[in-house]
Amino acid sequence: MANTMLEVKDLSTKYVTRFNEGVYAVDRVSLKVEEGKSLGIAGESGCGKSTLALSLMGYYFPPLHYMNGDITINGNNISGLKAEDVRKTILGKEVAYIPQAAMNALNPTRKIIHFIEDVILEHEMYVTKKDIYGRAKKLFETLGLPPEVLQKYPVELSGGMKQRTVIAISVMLLPKVLIADEPSSALDVTSQKMVIKMLKHLMEAGFISSMIFITHELPLLYNVVDDIMVMYAGQIVEKGSSHEMVFDPIHPYSKGLMGSIIVPEKGLRDVKLTAIPGVPPNLKKPPAGCRFAERCRFVRPECRVTDVAMREAEHGRMYRCIIPEAELREAYAREEHKNG
């Protein structure tokens, strides 16, 4: 069995608003990523997937607050560490994080090489700038980025190039886990493909051991990661391998989500897109019982009463529903039959 790179147990975090209300954006999330594996997190906007990405680093700053749970990265439990210690010893070295607008984080008045110097000097003491340049050049060449980029200012680079540069900077210290939160959503399709190719290359060449990839674009997720987790209203509702999740979802929410995929491929025009009526619950006051109950077409009275636990299914799949897998599949089959 491969090493577990990142393990999270019952992690809950919340935002505190200006008016001192709590928004419980991540609720008792448990996950595990093994060495050499990548995990995708899918969900609608506002379901807490970006918050989960932030929380996974163990580095909290207001308005985000840690509530409880354990985070173990490469065997070290970091949930008890102080923020400053996390920043010094974990961020960049163990975990790297790429937000959606990462490319806008580059200060336009500094050359790319300066950012790399910053990153390395923060963690290593006795390095010369010449060494750093050499290391950066080597890394950039390996990743297929032209080394001239190092001497350029961010404004001289295109959006896709900037994003790839930021990713290269973030793996400079060879982190174990890379958390990429919608790294390619702001880019055009071609740049997106380049970013994805680079991320895959990072995994294959061993720059990073594991990756967590977050996006709302399901076709993209399907092509990037090994396993997919679907999040809804701060909770994980289903987990499985990406192929199973896209073509054979169990949970009614995942079913709806996968049914809304649009790709420019043959046969798509005959597919009837599924829609889920209603809106996600307000995370300031999450409902008791199943959080999807309001929008679920199989809802039963007991759904709204008790907390629904994760259930296990074959191939290590997990789903959060009180209706057993077989019954759900039966219901889906009936629906399909009715729609012809």
Binding site: E44, I196, P219, N223, P264, A275
Partner: protein, 270 residues
């Protein structure tokens, strides 16, 4: 599609450029477009391709630098406010971002009342107006009683976009220009919006122009697809032809770069 018919809306050599001299940029370059009644077309392009500028020219929100737009075979004249109003009875739009499409100081009622007034319902009795609003809301599966006296920003993105469709339902234009109507809302609500737009097309007999960057969406909804690059149409034709059997290298690249789920997504091509 009966091609013998006269085009409903057509653009002939429409060009729009900004700035002068060195800084001149041509956003829309010599575009020819024929739109027939009842058709759904998509204009697909990446950001910066000029598709939004083209949509604004077609809507008459900005004037073209050269070329002409013909509406029902007659050259469009929007030189005065009254003529513009007349033109806008026939062509309406849904914009990309529902959160910035509404005036945050106006209530939902006033948004809908505006549409009734525009269709000449200024002097309708109050009950009739309310009835029309209820009908429009129920068309998009919203409950008017829950919306009245609320502000648009109190709704979710999907609901706001549906309210936009209710607005179109009241206005009953001949042509609807939908500028990325689903790109800012969640995948689960997307199907609802698309269904309602198609429903609207069936009920009102509307012609729809989709402006989008999402090739999948264009393929899913439209009869004809126009691929736009740097202000020009590089390829156009029936959706099946253009998307499944693209001829131009640009279109091929574009379709190649979109992630697929049924076929292999070839990463080696970039």
């Amino acid at each position: 599609m009966d091609k013998e018919k006269k085009p409903y809306l057509s653009a002939k050599g429409v060009t729009k450029s900004f700035g002068f001299g060195r800084q001149k940029t041509v956003a829309v370059d010599n575009i020819n477009l024929d739109l027939y009644e009842g058709e759904v077309i998509s204009i697909v392009g990446e950001s910066g391709s000029g598709k939004t500028t083209l949509s604004k020219v077609l809507l008459g929100l900005i004037n073209q630098t050269s070329g002409d737009v013909y509406f029902q075979g007659v050259k469009r004249d929007i030189s005065s406010q009254a003529r513009k109003r007349e033109y806008w009875k026939n062509i309406q739009a849904i914009f990309q971002d529902p959160f910035s499409s509404y005036n945050i100081f106006n209530k939902i009622d006033s948004v809908l009342l505006d549409c009734i007034n525009m269709r000449g319902g200024v002097y309708f009795p109050r009950e009739k107006k309310t009835e029309m609003m209820i009908e429009a809301c129920s068309f998009v599966n919203l409950k008017f009683e829950e919306l009245t006296n609320k502000y648009p920003f109190e709704l979710s993105g999907g609901q706001m976009q549906r309210l936009m469709i209710a607005r179109i339902f009241l206005l009953q234009p001949k042509i609807l220009l939908a500028d990325e109507p689903t790109s800012m809302i969640d995948a689960c609500s997307r199907a609802t919006i698309l269904d309602e737009l198609m429903h609207l097309r069936k009920e009102v007999g509307m012609t729809i122009i989709f402006i989008t960057h999402d090739i999948g969406l264009a393929y899913y909804v439209s009869d004809n697809v126009y691929i736009m690059e740097k202000g020009r149409f590089v390829e156009s034709g029936a959706a099946d032809d253009v998307i499944l059997r693209p001829k131009e290298p640009y279109t091929q690249r574009l379709i190649n770069d979109v992630p697929k789920i049924y076929e292999e997504w070839d990463l080696s091509t970039v």
